[in-house]
């Protein structure tokens, strides 16, 4: 970690945006590109799943707790990964308070590239306007003080939702040309939803595109997605945070060449090796393990993982993915506490962090 000369105190939004641009910050921001909603926070603000995924005021209220209760530097209202899939016609299982809504991928809506029809009015669908209205509310509520992060799903993830996982992956093997045609058609959803969220007031967008380490190789990422992700940087003029789960060191070099602002990375990748892989061409965010550390191991282990990220020079610290809905609040609060204390311990050698 390089410590630079003191920079003026920043508010949360300034801190997040500076770190996404790899500019100096007064301390490392705590950022959640994905959901930090829990069942207890839902109780606190009377905004439960599934309503909090469909009602803008509830969505905004629950998202606000990321800052007001957990003291993260960002708020992120798009808890699930199904909003746009719902709008373009996928069947959704909305579940209850204690579980995530999911796309019924066993009932795909398309079989072939020629089937792809994006409804003309899909941006007016209630599951889309809910997100846009929630972002507007959060922007008004937090002004310029807290970073508001939106989310637009990438075409690879939409492919899983609309064609089914197995069918989509088989298509990539059987007919790469047709796969590219599908991705080209579906990318319009990513771009249009992203732009609409910019208009609504988002400061940055998470772009999950689940070319995950367990199913897709780094070579696949280079062949199918790298160029398209590079195009997104031009088409969606706002800091983009690419999210891909799993072991992804083999493609981090490619990801770093896309021009995206940050990569939201999984705990299956060590912070030091990941920083080596991206070579200061993109910020890293995330890495705090969800299913074990945040869910069940307690604040001491959370702190160890936060420190490992800070020692490696990771630009923004936060959970690796959407946290389990039953995550204890004390584990989440430990992340900003640990960041603050780590910086206090390093005050002697300078109080600001250089991300350049």
């Amino acid at each position: 970690m390089n410590l630079a000369k003191t920079v003026p105190a920043m508010n949360s939004r300034q801190r997040v945006l500076a770190a996404l641009a790899r500019e100096p910050v007064d301390r490392t921001p705590v950022c959640n590109p994905t959901s930090v909603a829990t069942v207890e926070l839902m109780d606190l603000v009377d905004a439960y799943f599934p309503d909090a995924n469909r009602n803008p005021e509830k969505m905004a209220r629950l998202a606000a707790t990321g800052h007001t209760e957990l003291e993260f530097d960002s708020v992120m209202p798009v808890f699930s990964i199904i909003q746009e899939s719902s709008a373009i016609g996928c069947k959704i299982q909305w579940e209850a308070k204690d579980n995530w809504p999911t796309v019924k991928m066993a009932e795909p809506i398309w079989k072939d590239a020629s089937d792809i029809r994006i409804p003309d009015n899909w941006l007016s669908h209630p599951d889309i306007t809910c997100v846009l209205d929630a972002i507007r509310l959060l922007r008004k509520e937090f002004g310029d003080e807290v970073a508001v992060i939106g989310k637009t799903m990438g075409p690879w993830s939409l492919g899983y939702h609309c064609f089914g996982v197995q069918e989509f992956l088989l298509m990539t093997i059987d007919d790469p040309g047709k796969t590219m045609e599908c991705l080209e058609k579906m990318k319009e959803v990513t771009i249009e939803f992203g732009r609409a969220q910019i208009d609504a007031g988002a400061d940055a967008l998470t772009l999950p595109d689940h070319a995950t380490g367990d199913l897709v190789s780094g070579e696949y990422y280079d062949r199918f997605l790298k160029e398209m992700h590079t195009e997104f940087v031009d088409q969606i003029p706002i800091p983009l945070i690419l999210h891909i789960c799993g072991r992804t060191v083999d493609r981090m070099g490619f990801i770093a060449e896309t021009g995206m602002a940050a990569f939201h990375y999984d705990s299956k990748n060590r912070p030091d090796e990941s920083m080596d892989a991206v070579k200061d061409r993109i910020s890293l965010v995330g890495n705090i393990n969800n299913p074990e550390t945040l869910y069940s191991k307690g604040p001491e282990v959370v702190r160890e993982e936060v420190y490992r990220n800070l020692e490696a020079g990771v630009q923004l610290v936060g959970p690796e993915c959407a946290i389990p809905l039953q995550t204890p609040i004390e584990c989440l609060k430990e992340i900003p506490l640990a960041v603050r204390e780590w910086h206090l311990q390093h005050l002697d050698s300078g109080s600001a962090v250089s991300n350049s």
Partner: protein, 232 residues
């Protein structure tokens, strides 16, 4: 909340933020949660643990503002006293502890989840340390021997009942973190050396069906975790 170190914005209160800023509490370690209490409007109930004077204490808490939430919390608290054998702390009576001063955390967590299935207002009384066992085709019972030790007896001495006694020993070892005693082989012991008949009575059914209990725990732990589309 340390407002000096973490300046909080001035809420405009467009979405009711002022009503809940900084309302989460430092309650220690949350050891268990009922995420959606079907007996009380789907509120979540957390079980928190703190140590005072090296003695573990437990608290039932909910962040829900529902009008029936506080009554539900108090009912579950009373149920833990009556059916698990916990006692109110002298200094902070909403917190509960065992007389022995040990945590018996695994058993308390399991008992808490089972108590959350009771309807508010249902009569509370300790469960007997005797239960009919289908596979043994007879009643099994637990007798206190002192020093935290319990012997398990079957009314009928058959091959299947002896096997079931051994299964119950293994069940209590898993569910209540007890020790199996070498002689007699049908005995188990709490390492604290204390007497916990209420706890054993409450969890006897779970110990009899330990595989189902473990499967239920694993299922509950996986619920609420978002997995990527590739793993759905």
């Amino acid at each position: 909340m340390n407002q000096e170190a973490w300046p909080i914005f001035e809420p405009r209160n467009l979405i009711g933020v002022s009503d809940f800023v900084g309302k989460t509490l430092d309650l220690g370690k949350r050891v268990e949660i009922q995420p959606m209490d079907t007996q009380c409007h789907g509120i979540s109930l957390g079980l928190y643990r703190q140590e005072w004077d090296e003695c573990p204490h437990y608290l039932v808490h909910t962040y829900s503002g529902h009008e029936q939430a506080s009554g539900r919390m108090e009912y579950i608290r009373q149920a833990m006293i009556t059916m698990l054998g916990l006692h109110a702390s002298e200094h902070q009576p909403e917190w509960l502890r065992f007389h022995c001063g040990h945590s018996h955390e695994k058993a308390v967590r399991r008992g808490f989840l089972d108590l959350c299935k009771l309807e508010t207002g249902a009569p509370l009384q300790p469960k007997p340390c005797t239960a009919f066992d289908k596979k043994a085709d007879c009643e099994l019972s637990i007798r206190y021997q002192g020093d935290g030790s319990y012997v398990i007896d079957a009314v009928a001495e058959t091959d299947s009942s002896l096997k079931r006694v051994q299964a119950l020993v293994r069940g209590f070892v898993k569910v209540c973190e007890m020790e199996a005693i070498e002689s007699p082989v049908s005995a188990v012991r709490f390492p604290c050396g204390g007497e916990h008949a209420s706890l054993l009575g409450m969890l006897m059914f779970r110990a009899q069906n330990v595989r189902a209990a473990m499967a239920e725990e694993a299922n509950a732990a996986g619920r609420g975790s978002l997995v990527p589309p590739s793993q759905q």
